[in-house]
Symmetry: C2
Subunit: 344 residues, 2 copies
DNA sequence: CTGAAAGCGCTTACAG
DNA sequence: CTGAAAGCGCTTACAG
């Protein structure tokens, strides 16, 4: 490895002068500077980061941690979108990104997923899609005083900043829109209670509250379909629900876009077509739904912005260690596709 | 930050003994060891990696570099699948992964994407989906003697190992299978020549050669549809091609799975249904094609295995710097979906 | 404007 | 079995 010492020798100065040139300090004679720069170019010198890190206590690397298995189609989309916002922010700052998998509460943690953070390999952490941060982790983070930010959830720890979207509000306004389009019986495709997903349950709360506020004649709770993240399960549960209703709902609000294809398939088995017989609205907007064979009306999460915001928040805490926890809610936007019909 | 010195003080030994315990060296009295371990636990000490890196010259981090924009749906799937294979290998070795974006030849490189590698922030590099590695980069890599492996392409540099799949072979055998199922007129949906994609062009070569070897009556080249990666373009180009054929092909081989929905849509406009009128085969197998609304017959790339193999190859070169370039071709597997019919 | 010294946290010989 | 010394590549005061 080429070091400052090698450069110094070649340029005929001391290594400390080399350090000055490398760091762009002002107090170096122009002539000396040129000699050093020439030597750097000749030798292809680049400052090793370890020496610098040892002095500054900073490594200019952050970690992006997630419990999302990288091979999982839909969730890794989410991950990558957020990551792209993070990357665009940190690229400018010359800060690198370490990506790592962390188990969630309840997952088997057979390896030491905290090692990189203990070792001071990163200056901060962004969690993506972490539904619950394990206590042991929180304790470690506090001990090391590592700044961290969570994306897509709202951890209670006084140490973890977060960015999230307004899932409740978007759930609520989706129902308002359907209502304005004449829909009165609306079903909601949510998740089993055993699956903890704060986002989906917030969307569900919005659904329930909006229908109550609008004075729907029915109990919204009776129109909640509880299922799990699997094509076959969703298809089966939507089929079962729509088979059981005395009156078929005119609209179906899917809490996650990827529920739409299995739901459509289930409805087709009942000779119900989307949107002719049943309007459909989704949520998330990060799958290219043209692959679904239809232009789906949905709520779009501002994932890239969330990533960018998280990066910004993390960075500010890296720069000012005293800064307290920040919270930020970003609005969801509505995409008008072709799966909702106005009825009378 | 808690250091070995702090631990030493508390345990009443020298910091060098602490180092011994931390590194699991044998020559430490059991009693001393226990005292040190206790002090480590009390203080929550963990060895900082920078000091170690400075000594060993290794940072236990590798970089995964890709020109694939993180927000791009289909290609980031590919990326994540390969990444998951890489991660599973390196996790066991306690090696972390830095993820970074690199411009390809022809892309605008307005920032210094090589910085982390110059700085000796990583011990090796895996390129994913890099169609052409810029010369300037190759030069840097040679200079730093950074081991590297490319996934999904076959760079000529004598320095870059690679793992790839047998695209030509899979293209060839796909045609053989269709032929066995009675198909004689087969179209291929490929890419414009201006889009350099070695994988797709290998698949195309397999298509052409197989038809020639099988003694097809027509010129296979006349049945190649050239398009680009965009729903609307694919739809338009497939429509145009199928409108122009004197006799409609009985099968369509799409060089990439994501071409299937737009192709199906184009055929539908000609009143042709898949698979009733036209059989369809895809390539890649990493999109969950149930979202396409059909169970697509396709060639499945072993992405996770490719990632794992790349990691293995990189690691071996990290351990033995003298090791020369390795090359590895993994087989593609065939998935029997429901989009190919046997005809007579 | 330039250099000698000390130190960041660790490991690797070398003594004892 | 344990410690004092030197050094990894760099930066940060301090002298001159």
């Amino acid at each position: 490895m080429v070091t400052q010492k090698d450069v110094a020798e070649r340029a005929g100065v001391s290594f400390i002068t080399v350090s000055r040139v490398v760091n762009g300090e002002a107090n170096v004679k122009e002539e000396t500077k040129q000699k050093v720069l020439q030597a750097i170019a000749d030798l292809g010198y680049a400052p090793g980061f370890a020496g610098r890190a040892l002095n500054s206590g900073r490594v200019n690397t952050i970690a992006v941690l997630t419990p999302i298995p990288f091979y999982e189609n839909v969730r890794s989309f989410y991950l990558m979108q957020v990551l792209s916002g993070i990357e665009s922010f940190f690229r400018e700052k010359n800060i690198d990104i370490l990506i790592g998998f962390v188990p969630e509460v309840g997952m088997d943690a057979s390896y030491d997923y905290l090692r990189p953070y203990r070792q001071k390999k990163v200056d901060g952490i962004i969690f993506i899609g972490m539904r619950k941060i394990p206590d042991s982790m929180i304790k470690e983070l506090e001990l090391r005083r590592l700044p961290c930010v969570a994306v897509g959830d709202r951890p209670e720890s006084s140490l973890v900043s977060w960015v999230d979207t307004d899932n409740y509000g978007a759930g609520y306004s989706t129902i308002q829109r359907l209502w304005e389009n004449g829909h009165r019986r609306i079903a909601f495709c949510g998740l089993d209670k055993s699956i903890y997903n704060a986002n989906v349950s917030d969307r569900e709360r919005g659904f329930v509250q909006a229908l109550k506020d609008l004075g729907a004649g029915c109990r919204p709770e009776d129109y909640i379909i509880r299922t799990e993240y699997k094509f076959e399960s969703i298809e089966r549960d939507v089929f079962a629900a729509f088979s059981s209703y005395a009156e078929i709902p005119t609209a179906l609000f899917c809490s996650v876009d990827s529920m739409i294809p299995p739901a459509v398939s289930a409805l087709a088995k009942l000779n119900l077509s989307v949107p002719r017989d049943v309007s459909a609205v989704g949520f998330d907007g990060f799958i290219n739904t043209t692959y679904f064979g239809m232009d789906v009306t949905t709520n779009v999460q501002p994932l890239k912005s969330m990533g960018h915001a998280a990066a910004e928040m993390l960075y500010s805490r890296m720069e000012q260690p005293g800064l307290e926890k920040q919270e930020r809610v970003l609005p969801v936007s509505f995409y008008e596709g072709k799966t909702v019909l106005k009825i009378s």
